[in-house]
Amino acid sequence: MSYLYQTDELMKLIYETLAGFCEQYAIPLLYLDLAIMLVAVGIIAGFVSVSVMFMVWLERKVSAHMQDRLGPMRVGPHGALQTIADAIKLLFKERITPQKADKWVYTLAPVVIFASAMAAYVVIPWSPGMIIADLNIGLLYLLAIGSVAVIGLLMAGWGSNNKYSLLSAFRCGAQIISYEVAATLSCLGVIMLTGSLSMVDIVNAQKDMGWPFIVVQPIGFLIYLIAGTAEVNRAPFDLAEAESELIAGFHTEYSAMGFSMFFLAEYANMFIVSAIAATLFLGGWAGPVLPPVVWFLLKTFGLVFVFMWFRWTFPRIRVDQLMVFGWKFLIPLAFVNLLVTGIVMLL
């Protein structure tokens, strides 16, 4: 039972057992490391698909209850198996490539977006010792990998050879680039307090301090939450998917697997943004009584719920309002937050 709490000990035990096994049969440790990496990738891929299915169901339920409806009820108890049925249906659909599309760019775009979403899971700290790679540039890596998705969006929009897709890709790209600045600046306050970019160090700093960083960085948390909503293109910032203006957005032309990869990436990104916010501002896995993994998932899915709450509460804003709000309010506020943090730290 105690291994559920001391997961670093558990990981060490597993690794040492496997290393001993390798030594016995004279297998080089390099192969063990490679095998562990492959298994970790498999676990993450499994987690992503299961969690995305859960989040899609949750979104439908949350939106339904907010609008005084029931939502999916037929497949499974309270419609819990609805997304599994939907996923199987999507897999059997025909893959269509428009005749005038740029075939390679069109086909590779969902791959780029999905890969950049998956790559972010490498530095997510689930529990002590349970992290694929505790990079000492952890947070910077997350921000850098996140910025690659814009290329995938532009590839999808341009490759489809559809003007609505292209317009949506431009909107989406401009929005992500603008709000990336605010998101990065809001993370800087936490980095200043911790003195490290490693995700594990950030959690440990909050554990040592006794309370999460949201207490000392409330404005940073709010800025990150707003900028994060904009970065994952969710309402009220879902201009890239404004159905009434742009049909469906940059993925209008996609069907079957291509479409489901965009869908997976979108929800995986929402999970990542929530996980970053939970790690940076809410103390990550740190918490009393419950095991660390449970705390981490509780905080992360709590924030996922907040994002859904936003979506079904606020109406969509206009493009000019979006840009003005980002550049003239959020970014200056983030700078003021940084300045105040610096002054307080000096005193």
Binding site: N136, I137, I145, S147, I151, I177
Partner: protein, 165 residues
């Protein structure tokens, strides 16, 4: 001659991808394709930085070059529709002179590289590079750092002034 170890195998894989994508950047006839291969090339550069244990540089390489500059290129090319659609010619009337210059420059590079005695340093660098880079930027190299910031600011204001006309 070629040694295959855990360090060299990734290097050769990255090197092959980097050379192929660099060739694709200059030889493809569609500008958007060129820029996408440029992004792939920048990714390979980040990989080389990681092999050299400069993780900070690698992350910044992806952040600035892949996420920033390539995206800017894509925006510019896609917004000028005639450029994105055309199959552009790769040569003009000066190709002969350029060819001679390239051969000369290539010869210079090959002789320079083959005649240099490459020494391998014993010192492998600090464990965490970011604190060291940060300290150096704000102490020893504060002046060039600030000059670069002012130059970038001037470029930014210049771009806004031109765009407003």
């Amino acid at each position: 001659m070629i040694e295959l170890t855990a360090q060299t195998i990734p290097f050769y894989i990255l090197a092959v991808i980097a050379v192929i994508s660099a060739l694709a950047v200059v030889s493809l006839k569609n500008l958007v394709h060129s820029v996408l291969f440029l992004a792939l090339f920048f990714f390979c550069m980040a990989g080389f930085y990681i092999l050299l244990k400069a993780e900070f540089l690698a992350a910044v390489q992806i952040f600035v070059y892949v996420g920033g500059i390539t995206v800017l290129f894509l925006f510019l090319i896609m917004l000028t529709f005639k450029v994105a659609d055309k199959r552009l010619r790769q040569t003009n009337e000066q190709w002969l002179i350029a060819f001679v210059m390239v051969i000369l420059f290539g010869w210079l590079l090959v002789t320079g590289l083959s005649e240099t005695n490459w020494e391998i340093a014993e010192w492998s660098g600090p464990e965490k590079t970011i604190p060291v880079i940060g300290k150096l930027l704000l102490t020893t190299y504060i002046f060039p750092f600030e000059v670069v910031s002012v130059v970038l600011l001037a470029a930014l204001i210049g771009a806004i002034v031109i765009a407003r006309k």
